[in-house]
């Protein structure tokens, strides 16, 4: 055991945040109290994560932390050390195409103003990763932390249903002879 630190030695003015961000290593100094949302938008310029209410009601700032959805306005950046963070920018493959879920949202017109869309898409990612064939009721429950001020919920649910169908087709692709 190392020599016990004094209390003053533990106190930090700025905190070194070391994490994974959209698949890359990230090391940045952050101010204590800064939200993960402000860190992503202001320090990392990842403005796809939207700022809505800053109270945790609206879900526009939803990100994935270790694969689970979180509201980034309710996460202190300094406490995200060691986490794997994914924002909407990290969802599409580098070739510029949209991910299956994003494409489904586009094809089902799951947007009106689009402000809630990044959060809705990331919640859909989380839902379909654990429940590839959700019922409408399960989709509604999963979306209960995301508000759409245009009230376009029906088209969002249709987009998630379409994404689920397409993902299922991708995973159930017919195999060749002899199961290869």
């Amino acid at each position: 055991m190392a020599v016990t630190q004094t209390m003053d030695e533990i106190l930090e003015d700025d905190v070194l945040l070391t994490c994974r961000l959209n698949g890359a290593n990230c090391e940045e100094l952050v101010t204590p109290g800064l939200s993960l949302l402000d860190f992503l938008r202001d320090q990392q310029h990842l403005t796809g994560t939207h700022m809505g209410c800053m109270t945790g009601h609206c879900g526009a700032c939803t990100v994935l932390i270790d694969g689970e959805v979180a509201k980034s306005c309710l996460v202190m950046a300094a406490s995200a050390a060691g986490k794997n963070i994914q924002t909407i920018e990290g969802l599409s493959p580098p070739d510029g195409n949209l991910s299956t879920i994003q494409q489904a949202f586009r094809d089902a017109n799951s947007f009106q103003c689009g402000y809630c869309a990044p959060g809705m898409v990331l919640t859909a990612v989380s839902l379909l990763s654990t429940n590839p064939q959700p019922s409408d009721q399960e989709i509604r429950e999963a979306l209960s932390g995301n508000l759409c001020r245009c009230t376009g919920y029906r088209s969002i649910i249709a987009g998630i249903r379409l994404a689920a169908e397409r993902q299922l087709k991708l995973t159930n692709k017919p195999t060749g002879p002899n199961g290869v």
Binding site: Q5, M7, I10, L11, E12, D13, V15, T31, P32, G33, S35, M54, T55, G56, H57, G59, T62, I65, E68, V69, A70, K71, C73, L74, V75, M76, A78, S79, A81, T123, S126, R140, E141, A142, L143, S144, G145, N146
Partner: protein, 291 residues
């Protein structure tokens, strides 16, 4: 406003020492779901954020003797999906599944945070009081086990500025006890207008042997009205009993809240309605053929 500092704690011992050292300007950071809005809106100015997320003593769910021992850092979704909790304290698993704000909040919000902020509208307290849970609380140099109803106050001071809630001990329910929970709310994610958590033991002749019922979201702290319902013991379950549960519960409310979820008279009436529904749910769960 001066800038806050940050302390990432790695042991419970050091964390309690740090809180004693810093005094009231220190703010404990766990899941952040309660804390961050007040920081975002500059309502709260902390001198130091004491991050306790790295403390192993506050993690995990296990059986210890006749108790389920739940770490204060366990998040709502972890608890609601945990097999041990679903088996031995299903009332708690269900109550936490009703925490609003969606998966996002239930992925980050901790049971410890839900308890220590002692918010009248939150879900953990009524269920834990009904279950007669105890809290393991650590202060510098001392460790205490306290029945949860002794700790609940409406002063906004929680456990005090130098204490850390370590674990929640929930007595394992016997198979003969059935549970019901009713949260009256306007939308899926909304705060409650009235909540009731109930435990009922009913025998094969449909006579009530034991009842516990706690009301939440109606007064500034949850109200345990089990004593007011003792007149039900030995009586047969039926419509008349449900009417009794509703009227006894509504009249047991002393000082109802008035807010945007309803004025005092409405809250009192809905306390009765929620109590009746939670009680009926518990009986139905015990004897699915009735109702």
């Amino acid at each position: 406003m001066s800038r806050a500092q940050f302390a990432r704690m790695r042991s419970l011992e050091a964390a309690t020492e740090m809180l004693s050292y810093l005094g009231p300007g220190a703010v404990v950071l766990a899941g952040g779901q309660e804390l961050m809005p007040s920081i975002n809106y500059r309502v709260l100015a902390a001198s130091v954020f004491v991050d306790i997320n790295g403390l192993p003593e506050l993690k995990g769910i296990r059986l210890e003797d006749a108790n389920l021992s739940i770490g204060a850092l366990c998040v709502h979704r972890e608890i609601e999906r945990n097999e041990l909790v679903r088996q031995h304290a299903p009332l708690l698993a269900h109550a936490l599944s009703e925490v609003g704000g969606g998966w996002q909040v239930r992925n980050r919000g901790t049971i410890g945070g839900n308890i220590v902020c002692m918010h009248p509208l939150y879900d953990a307290l009524p269920a834990l009081i009904a279950l007669e849970a105890s809290l393991l609380i650590r202060q510098q140099g001392e460790s205490n086990r306290v029945p949860i109803n002794y700790m609940v106050t409406d002063t906004g001071h929680g456990l005090g500025s130098t204490s850390i809630l370590v674990r929640i001990l929930v007595p394992i329910l016997s198979n003969s006890v059935s549970w019901g929970y009713h949260k009256l709310k306007t939308t899926h994610g909304a705060y409650s207008s009235a909540t009731a958590a109930s435990l009922v033991t009913i025998d094969s002749t449909m006579r009530v042997r034991r009842v516990r019922l706690v009301l939440g979201a109606v007064e500034s702290v949850p109200r345990d009205i089990s004593n007011e319902l003792q007149s039900l013991i030995g009586k047969r379950y039926g419509d008349e009993m449900l009417r009794d549960v509703e009227s006894l519960s509504a009249s047991a409310v002393v000082d109802p809240i008035s807010d945007q979820r309803g004025e005092a008279g409405y809250r009192r009436a809905m306390a009765g309605v929620s109590a009746r529904r939670a009680f009926a749910d518990a009986v139905t769960r015990a004897c699915p053929k009735f109702n």
